[in-house]
Symmetry: C2
Subunit: 270 residues, 2 copies
Amino acid sequence: MKNNNLPIGIFDSGLGGLTTVKEFIKILPNENIVYFGDTGRVPYGTKSQKIIIKYAKQDINFLKFKNVKIIIIACGTVSSIVPKISTFDLKLVSTVKPTINAAALATKNNRIGIIGTNATIRSSTYKNELEKINKNFFVCQKACPMFVPLVENGITNENDPVAMEIVRRYLEEFKNKNIDTLILGCTHYPMLKQVIRKFLPSNITFVDSGKETAKFTANILLKKDLLNSSKKPGKYNFFISDEVSIFKEQAKRFLKLEKFSVNEVSIEKF
Amino acid sequence: MKNNNLPIGIFDSGLGGLTTVKEFIKILPNENIVYFGDTGRVPYGTKSQKIIIKYAKQDINFLKFKNVKIIIIACGTVSSIVPKISTFDLKLVSTVKPTINAAALATKNNRIGIIGTNATIRSSTYKNELEKINKNFFVCQKACPMFVPLVENGITNENDPVAMEIVRRYLEEFKNKNIDTLILGCTHYPMLKQVIRKFLPSNITFVDSGKETAKFTANILLKKDLLNSSKKPGKYNFFISDEVSIFKEQAKRFLKLEKFSVNEVSIEKF
């Protein structure tokens, strides 16, 4: 039995994953989406691998329960430990493979930078996977733990002295590394793109994990003949683990959607 | 049956409550302490009232299970909504009453400022309770959501331009309010005291909720004849909801304790 009309499941620790949802809507406008954001336990990137695995398993179980045809991990932190989350019955797409593939294609001088949360950088997953593609890649990585609070508090303007100074502290060391490609390894980070752009040399190509993951998924669905055959716009159902009101406003403003639903779910039961 | 030798239970969303534990050890060195820090779900102050109530009830149930004689809410955010958490069988001490009593005593011109997390300021609890003590009090309050990430990332030096600029943004409006007393309404904030001190007029008295809560609790235990009769140093058992290794280091450094235990607990089961 084909499952073409089942929804795509996407999850993140909170709001960051909406940057990924936006790309999915752009590339796959006829797909139905079920999104889970763990707003009651956000952030993940400051926590231990053990607790992230526990939470990710619950997030995945919830999306399975919602009968999705594929699951997208729209969270750089969870993606970086995905080999430790076994699912045998459903395709899991993490941000790692699409992102490193794009970076490997983009670089001309084989010098790549990676930024992410503490947990992502500690795992070294992006770095290790890049070096598997090409052992001549020079890869440098840096954890930027203040970037998520900056985004969550709206401090993202390219002229904001706090945003600029924090970007400088983390990325100063990249300036003399001669990288030509930078992986934004957390789905929050595209919102800081202008500040990072202003600070780093203008020749550096940014790889946005949400955008690459959407393109990658479209290809998988095409190959497996799992694309939705409907010609109507997709339906969007959001679930979060905290109150819906604030999220509803943010999703409306950020995704510019007219019709969608937001519901609360007790995620620890899954 | 008297319960004098039972431990005091203290909880917080994470590490902030350690500033309170430090004051308890100073004032009540012979008391045994059981501490719970919800490091797996930190922070609380950015979340909704509904989810904070849910988490706080689990935290309290865990401490009851540990058979403590009194429970201290070492978290300004939970304290600000404590009337919504009913416990009939055990004394709950929040930071609100000790802190507002101390502020009411400290002010000479009846003008008091309050800073706290989004959730704390949204509740207006500290403000309302102060105005109940004296309707002539002029009270101004301000949410400072970037203060917790600053502290958690160690950006607390009085000469740090990021810390100084963020303090300026939040507290600029207090400069012309002629307050003589400022309530630090979150147990993280004492770690930013030097930066705030440098920015605000030097005549302002700071009220530290952890310190006041420890003094207040000592009085309750004395009045109820519940002080521990032991002359030996207290025993310290910490429980957290994420991995213990990082916490262990931080507790050791911050509390300067030689002997203590740290264990992980699945808090959602309580």
